[in-house]
Amino acid sequence: MVVDQLSDHEVDRLFHALADATRRDIVRRVIDGEYSISGLARLYPMSMTAVQKHVSVLEEAGLVAKQRRGREQRVLGRVEALQEAQRLLGAFEQLWRDRFDRMSDLLAETKGDNA
């Protein structure tokens, strides 16, 4: 499984795809189980074409895949891209851990000195 080495362009596509509430909702649903386009379209107050566009954006970002089943297109979720979001939150946690460390150093330095 390759989760690193995404190009800048790929990262941009991933973030653009997840920056929309409907698309995030689609991802959540298809991670749990596959849907047809028409099944998805019934869930949102928008046209089938609009839903199809959202699915295309997600597909280009690698977040979902489409598969033909007989006469129907099924939409499936791909977990790897979501792991990227998790990785980013992990990096953010480290950022604050580092800040807390620096705060702690500063507090130790001025102990007994805050008249």
């Binding site: 939150l89 946690e93 580092d98 807390f100 705060m103």
Partner: protein
Amino acid sequence: MTVTNVHKDTDQLTMTITAEFSAPIERAWQLWEDPRQLERWWGPPTYPATFVDHDFTPGGKVSYFMTGPEGDVHHGWWRILEVDAPRRISLEDGFADDSGKPADGMPAVVMVVTFGESSGGGSSMSIETTFPSLEAMEQMIAMGMDEGMKEAMGQIDAILAE
């Protein structure tokens, strides 16, 4: 200092991190209230922060810039939403253009900082950050994280990919 709790929600794009300090709550509060202390910890050693304006009142503006190893300068701003010394601060944090004005189309995050007293005269500090999008999260991390950290993260990814 001990990090006592970390809660991440990839759905809501929020992260809450809490640490305990041996210093009393009033002292911990100064880390935010005093711009000279803020600039000692906000940026990593390779991207030190300089706070220019620091109006720590509701509606007040705080502006700062961070200077990178190549002399590259990155501007940021806060808009203070609430101040309740020494218990709670909430603010918006965003990127600014070269003149220090909030950058167009660059989303801000909302941060809520909560202070508490703990037994033995220490204090706790909890930071809750809400990101408007994954994109914003990526930008914040890229700006706040020093190069060594990025390298370490890259190495972890490489190991996972094996």
